[in-house]
């Protein structure tokens, strides 16, 4: 009996190690890219990365997080390259020595979406700050990302410019989640929110929401790429990481970014070679 039990334990261990071995078998060169939900969920990486991987032979593993979290991942050394969109936070990241060789990559823009009926009457103002002021003054809901993402940081800057304390505004709800779940929440509450255009265009559960304000220069949303500092984290794959940074800022990478469209609309505009 004891023998049978030992056989059983052995079988478990054997099956486990076989399964483990089969997952570990694929040893190819890869880098870990900490990036944002806006670039991943909009489908951009799915479009541009296969081209880079075919050319360089380096596989890119994308971990999609909020900008704040992505930078933290880099800070802990769990990523080789970071691609995010919050310039002040990126500059701090570089100044503190966590990242090096920051380059501009592309930009897209934020849009203010809200219910078609537009009870806060912001449609057509074309002035983002004024729109935020009107939303705060109206009896409507506003869903915030509340997750320290780049979009969240931009939203908080708008509230500040509008002179509104969002915490004091009754309809303000912090979702504490990514762009998608925040849009889902806004759709079911028929609330206003700030979204990046890419995620909005690829978002399917829009219900009664539509873009109300877009085109204000302040809604400009630039993305930057940087290498995690190998001096802080010696295991960082700097050669492969640099290959990626060089490619995405090269003419080839830039034209691939420009070629990505959803229903005929270009999502990201390359700006590495200004």
């Amino acid at each position: 009996m004891a023998n049978r039990f030992r056989t059983l334990t052995l079988t478990f261990t054997l099956v486990a190690s076989l399964l483990l071995a089969s997952t570990a078998a694929r040893a190819e060169e890869f880098i870990t890219l900490a990036s944002t939900t806006s670039t991943d969920q909009s489908g951009l990486f799915g479009f541009i990365l296969p081209k880079f991987e075919a050319q360089s032979g380096v596989k890119v593993k994308v971990v999609a997080l909020g900008t704040g979290q992505a930078l933290d991942t880099g800070r802990r050394g769990d990523a080789d390259v970071v691609l995010v969109h919050d310039r002040p936070a990126e500059d701090r990241f570089v100044a503190e020595g966590w990242g090096i060789e920051r380059r501009d990559v592309m930009y897209n823009d934020f849009v203010i979406v809200g219910p078609k009926a537009d009870p806060a009457k912001i449609k057509g103002t074309g002035d983002a700050v004024d729109a935020f002021r009107r939303i705060a003054a109206a009896p409507v809901d506003f869903v915030s990302r509340g997750d320290k993402s780049g979009t969240n940081a931009a939203e908080l800057r708008f509230w500040k410019e509008a002179g509104v304390d969002p915490k004091a505004f009754k309809g303000y709800k912090e979702a504490g989640s990514g762009m998608g779940p925040t849009l889902n929440m806004s759709a079911s509450l028929n609330a206003y929110t700030l979204a990046d255009r890419g995620t909005w265009l690829s978002f399917k559960n829009r219900q009664d929401l539509e873009i109300l304000v877009a085109g204000d220069k302040r809604l400009f949303n630039p993305y930057g790429v940087m290498l995690v500092n190998p001096a802080k984290h010696p295991h960082v794959k700097q050669e492969a990481g640099r290959k990626f940074i060089d490619w995405i800022t090269s003419a080839d990478g830039q034209s691939t970014i420009a070629a990505y469209k959803i229903s005929g609309e270009q999502l990201f505009f390359p700006d590495a070679n200004k």
Binding site: M1, A2, L20, Q41, K61, G77, D78, P181, N184, H235
Partner: protein
Amino acid sequence: MSETFGDALSLLGRLDPAVLGIVWLSFKVSLTAVCIGAAIGLPLGAWVAVAEFPGRSVLAVLLNGMMGVPSVIVGVIVYLLLSRSGPFGPMGLLYSPAAMVVAQTLLVVPLVAALTRQIVEDAWREYAIELRSLRFNMRQCISTLLYDCRFSLVVALLAGLGRAMSEVGAVMIVGGNIEGFTRVMTTAIALETAKGDLSLSLALGIVLISVVLVLNGGAYTLRYWAMRRYG
């Protein structure tokens, strides 16, 4: 609602390789975790049931309590351990299937151990005098009881598998939901929901439920067949 369901079913009709890859990875990761979890949890649970030492009941309560630990907490702990800045950082396991196996194993061990303890303790009450009179040592007692309870213990393992396959919090954090590498069914569902693609979420949900049902059905049949054969 009915439209979403219809779309989900038509999506299932044309199972593409990416979806199959996701299903296969879920299966592999969770099964590995359950195997390791069983190798630790079964003897651990049986030992707590049989052994006499101070603090035994505290340990039993602890195991029972840990059955309900939120998977996100386990995810955060494993993340901190495996992060490059953590104690096991140099192994470079974060954002890999191995990390997901570690997290799920930590979820499965207390569950399997707690259920095993309950099942074995009941059997121990019945056979204690008999086994003692045979002058069995602790090891032999544990082996005998585990062997004797093997059909009931299948339920403990299935519960473990259920927990491993259905959790999303831990694998999302330590796996990173990387496409084609650490994306499993639950994290794919979370992602598609985030993208507002509820039909695809639901389709994946149906696959997940079916896989769990098939596994449970298989285990039930095996148990039925084995019981008839071996009593």
